[in-house]
Symmetry: C2
């Protein structure tokens, strides 16, 4: 046999794939950097932290269990724990014991946090818009969403909340 299974030549990326991949890396680096600076300047927090406030503002009663928030934001619970500690020091979020499960904690968006969010939102949308959506056709926006969703879904633990399907 010329190429035994354990010495198989890897399936390298085609030129198109390689170019797309490099473009993605550059776009994501520049974008994270851009948004982090914008929000650090205008709202005093990095983009991920802003995202946490957004998720909380979308939740009923402006509160979410730590694990739910971590899953929604796609970050580890450890990272979230540190982040909430910091946001709590800013007075933008507070922790609250979960009544039904004594292990649980709710992260609650404070009124002050909500104000900060409302104040920062317009500038942030403008930054996102001018970096991305003002540059894409409506068709491309659709394609972009589809592609990102495929990638995101592929990386989720398939039946994370449906263990019997695994």
């Amino acid at each position: 046999m010329k190429t035994p299974a354990d010495v198989e030549e890897p399936r390298w990326l085609t030129d198109d794939e390689q170019h797309a991949w490099q473009a993605y890396i550059q776009a994501s680096m520049l974008l994270e950097d851009h948004l982090d600076r914008q929000l650090q300047r205008d709202a005093g927090m990095p983009h991920v932290y802003y995202g946490l406030l957004v998720k909380l503002s979308w939740a009923p009663r402006h509160r979410l269990r730590m694990t739910e928030l971590a899953e929604a934001a796609k970050i580890t619970r450890s990272r979230l724990s540190h982040a909430i500690t910091r946001l709590e020091k800013n007075g933008w979020v507070r922790r609250e014991d979960c009544p039904s499960d004594k292990r649980g904690q709710n992260a609650v968006l404070t009124d002050e946090g909500f104000e900060v969010l409302k104040k920062a939102a317009p500038g942030h949308v403008e930054a996102v818009r001018s970096a991305i959506f003002d540059r894409l056709t409506p068709e491309q926006v659709g394609q972009f969403g589809d592609i990102c969703r495929i990638i995101a879904d592929g990386l989720q633990p398939e039946g994370a909340d449906l263990p019997w399907l695994r």
Copy 2:
């Protein structure tokens, strides 16, 4: 006047834009996390550091000026400086004075660094492929590349290396 210029309602994202934006955030979080873990496990370094070795391996004589490498990888010079210090401790890169400019430094990929890279590459390509390219149609790969390039180009200092055009 009903809405003075300084109280203009921000141009919020449309539903399509909002969905695409959330999908992007999720995809990029999950992807960075996935690749960081994969490379940390298989090569002992985070994804950005691996990217630096890749750029060096592509450069003539496996070396690049610090500033060029920082620009290629879209990271700050400070970040690069720290990263190279760490990679130098691993013996995968070494610094070399630039002959023509006494301020300058070249980052040089060592033979050992090149070996580490060659050993890690197949696993990494496989990770990228299975997370992204195996899930997209060839058409989508093209769209993805185009869109990312538009975003990346939009965030570059327009004539960074053509100051007379600014």
